[in-house]
């Protein structure tokens, strides 16, 4: 599934209502929704190529998000691992269900 795309010189993100919105309208909740999709399923993101994003504000936002997700790619399970390791033994011990 694609979460970031570039079309006609504009950057877009796939929001929580499954609709495409320009990247400069994204807020923190939009970012969180992208992160959840990113962690739960395989995602695609259009790369930035020469001049395919002309709007400079969109370029800043798109580029930052794109890079941040790319860095996370190799370390995708960190959120779950970190929290699930907590008290793992105790959960296993007491889990009567």
């Amino acid at each position: 599934m694609k979460i970031l795309k570039i079309e006609n010189g504009n950057g877009y993100f796939f929001d929580h209502n499954d609709e495409w919105q320009t990247i400069d309208t994204i807020d923190k909740n939009g970012l969180l929704s992208l992160l959840n999709r990113f962690l739960e399923e395989g995602v695609e993101m259009d790369p930035i190529e020469d001049d395919n994003l002309q709007n400079q504000a969109q370029l800043i936002v798109y580029k930052s998000i794109h890079e941040k997700f790319r860095t996370l790619q190799d370390n995708k399970s960190k959120f779950r691992d970190e929290s699930e390791r907590l008290y793992l033994d105790e959960i296993n011990k007491y889990d009567v269900n």
Partner: protein, 675 residues
């Protein structure tokens, strides 16, 4: 009666301070102390040649022995000396163990080296450091019947307790030229000859050991010249400058663990000074209570230290100004400032404290064995476990969500800062309104907590020895009170002006001299005063206060080996108060030797001493002679160590009744009054 000392060091070991053995000093010790038998017991070694030479030089029997570090304690092992070469070889084996770095051998090694332990006299450190452990003692039985103690008090404790070993009291001295004071720590044995088997037999019978030659365990030697004291209550009488306090000083020098209450130490002299000292002493005694009372306030103060309302107002002002500017200068807005993330705020940090506490409580309910039945009557264990698991899962989900938000926050911040660099629009200053609002609430609560903590009331009523200690809280009335609490030269005048607003006051404290550290700030918010009320509920008088402190001091002597009190009556304005003091002194003397100096008849006569001492400064052939006459109060005469005698009746008359004439005069006037 045979007087023995079976704990004498003549060779320096690595456990001793440096010393060189002196044969002449040993001879002097044997002669002065009139010893009948000794044992040489060096630390983890035995020097056969030196022992043979000592035996030749002295006129009394000496037994070869060794003091061994055994299972982290020490034990004397004494041989009959019949096979000196064999004993020497065994001790060499011990020495070898310690030379190889061993710090303490075990029971098995002891048996391996010395074989049948029944042929020796074994005396462990018992009521003496480092004391033998029960497990080691159990292994050594039945070969151990006697144990070494470090004071007459401990000797008596063993004598009176049927379950304890037979006590022995030895010098544990190093015989060298530098030994100035001849030891006074020896034990008398009720045996006809100083033979090994006879001594060993005496050491298994409490009726055959004693601290004195003729008076059993009623008396013990307290001074080098042979002066004895009772193991119970001793009263020293004597005129002014007759050497009473000096005698107490000499006794003090002979013992290690002494409680010495000096003359006038509790006296009230200047009312104001006395009040101050009294409050200080009482506050010190009750400091634990003050600390507990102020503990929560201290926590709040530490938290409030991080709050800076002034800085918060500046931040808010900056925020409003930049926001207005941003709104007014719309012409400067561009695509960068229009991006949604430009003005985005961070996800706030979530706090899982409540949930973690709940998880902890649930865990306690599951683990608790003591009240398992009660808990299970209401909630089944399996329900609790399910609850625990669900809470934990919630916790895990929350943690995961928080990690994600932190990740997003970082991203938001980085995009925002890039957008800000590019835009021409005025930047809106950062603000954490939640934190600012929380700070305001914190300060409000802080003010009300301090107000409540310092509202005047009694917070403690504690009965102590017929008195009542009362603690009261109140606000400080002035800067001077704070200064005296700080015990420094720091001036509190400026800070005190803000005292009514705890938050402002705290800011002023922060600006004070660094001699007042942050962990002490809380003490300046609430004043705690202690008072002592007498039996009738009234404020204790100066004399009553002295009585209270004296009782406390005497009580605290429990852990000492001997209690010395110099003229307790000097601290009292009303001698009827001495009644309780006398009673507690008598009680203490049942547990340890007590020496009381007095020149007052109310004390001296009513306290009923076990032993009476009278110090005298006498002129003999133009020379001043200081003597101590002593004896039982029931005996007609008291005797000094050089044989001089005085009549007990005269001693009482001269020292307690201001002489016979004054006594008779008083007697007549009382009779007249009666008639």
């Amino acid at each position: 009666m045979k007087k023995i000392d079976f704990h004498i060091h003549t060779v320096q070991s690595n456990l001793d301070a440096s010393f060189t053995f002196c044969q002449d000093k040993l001879n002097e010790y044997i002669e002065t102390a009139r010893l009948d038998c000794i044992a040489i017991t060096n630390h983890n070694l035995f020097c056969g040649d030196q022992f043979a030479s000592i035996v030749k030089e002295i006129s009394i029997p000496a037994f070869p022995g060794i003091e061994i570090d055994l299972e982290k304690s020490q034990i004397l092992l004494i041989s009959d000396g019949k096979d000196l070469a064999g004993f020497s070889r065994q001790c060499d084996d011990i020495a070898r163990e310690f030379n190889q770095g061993c710090e303490s051998i075990d029971f098995e090694k002891l048996v391996e080296i010395f074989g049948d332990l029944s042929q020796y006299i074994l005396i462990p450190h018992y009521d003496k450091k480092p004391a033998i452990k029960k497990q080691t003692l159990d292994k050594l039985r039945p070969h151990v019947t006697a144990g070494e103690v470090s004071s007459p008090k401990k000797f008596m404790y063993c004598i009176n307790d049927p379950d304890r070993l037979v006590p022995v009291y030895f010098s544990d001295c190093r015989i060298s030229k530098r030994l100035v004071s001849i030891p006074i720590r020896q034990t008398y044995l009720d045996c006809g000859t100083a033979q090994f088997h006879e001594i060993r037999s005496c050491l298994s019978d409490k009726n055959k050991v004693s601290l004195s030659e003729c008076d059993g365990n009623s008396l013990f030697q307290a001074l080098e010249d042979g002066q004895q004291l009772s193991t119970g209550l001793n009263v020293i009488l004597g005129g002014r400058s007759s050497g009473k306090s000096h005698t107490l000083g000499r006794i003090k020098a002979q013992f290690k663990n002494v409680k010495y209450l000096k003359q006038f130490s509790l006296t009230a002299r200047d009312e104001e000074e006395d009040d101050r000292k009294f409050n200080e002493q009482l506050s010190q005694r009750e400091s634990l209570f003050s600390r507990e009372y102020l503990a929560q306030l201290q926590g709040v103060v530490v938290d409030i230290l991080d709050v800076d309302l002034e800085e918060d107002i500046l931040t808010a002002t900056r925020y409003v100004e930049t926001l207005l500017k941003h709104a007014n200068e719309t012409e400067k807005h561009d695509s960068f400032s229009s991006a949604a993330l430009y003005g985005e705020e961070q996800f706030p940090k979530s706090n899982q404290k409540g949930l973690t506490e709940l998880i902890g409580s649930t865990k306690n309910l599951i683990r608790n064995e003591e009240f398992r039945e009660v808990v299970e009557r209401h909630v089944s264990l399996s329900s609790l476990k399910s609850l625990y698991v669900e809470l934990m899962r919630t916790y895990v989900t929350n943690q995961e969500s928080q990690s994600k938000k932190t990740w997003v926050n970082e991203l938001v911040e980085s995009i925002k800062s890039e957008l800000k660099i590019r835009t021409a629009a005025p930047t809106i200053a950062e603000i954490d309104l939640y934190r600012i609002a929380l700070n305001i609430k914190k300060v409000e609560k802080f003010r009300s907590i301090v107000k409540a903590a310092r509202s005047c009331r009694v917070i403690l009523r504690k009965p102590v020895q017929g008195f009542e200690i009362v603690a009261e809280v109140s606000p400080f009335k002035g800067a001077g009170m704070m200064k005296s609490l700080s015990k420094s030269q720091v001036g509190f005048s400026e800070a005190f002006q803000s005292y009514n607003d705890p938050y402002d006051f705290l800011q002023k404290l922060k600006n004070l001299d660094s001699r007042i550290t942050a962990d002490e700030y809380h003490k300046y918010f609430v004043k705690i005063d202690y008072r002592i009320l007498n039996k009738d509920g009234f404020e204790a008088s100066g004399g009553e206060r002295s009585e209270f402190f004296l009782l406390q001091e005497i009580e605290s002597a429990h852990t000492s080996d001997i209690l010395l009190i110099d003229e307790p009556e000097s601290s009292f304005d009303n001698l009827f108060l001495m009644k309780d003091v006398n009673e507690i002194i008598r009680q203490m003397s049942k547990k340890m030797p007590v020496v009381l100096v007095t020149h007052n008849n109310t004390v001296g006569a009513s306290i009923k001493p076990d032993y009476l001492l009278c110090t005298k400064k006498e002129l003999e052939d133009g020379d001043v002679k200081w003597r101590i006459y002593s004896g039982y109060p029931s005996s007609k005469e008291l005797q000094s160590v050089d044989g001089a005698r005085v009549k007990t009746h005269d001693v009482f008359m001269d020292n307690l009744e201001a002489g016979s004439d004054a006594y008779n005069e008083r007697k007549v006037s009382y009779e007249n009054l009666e008639n």
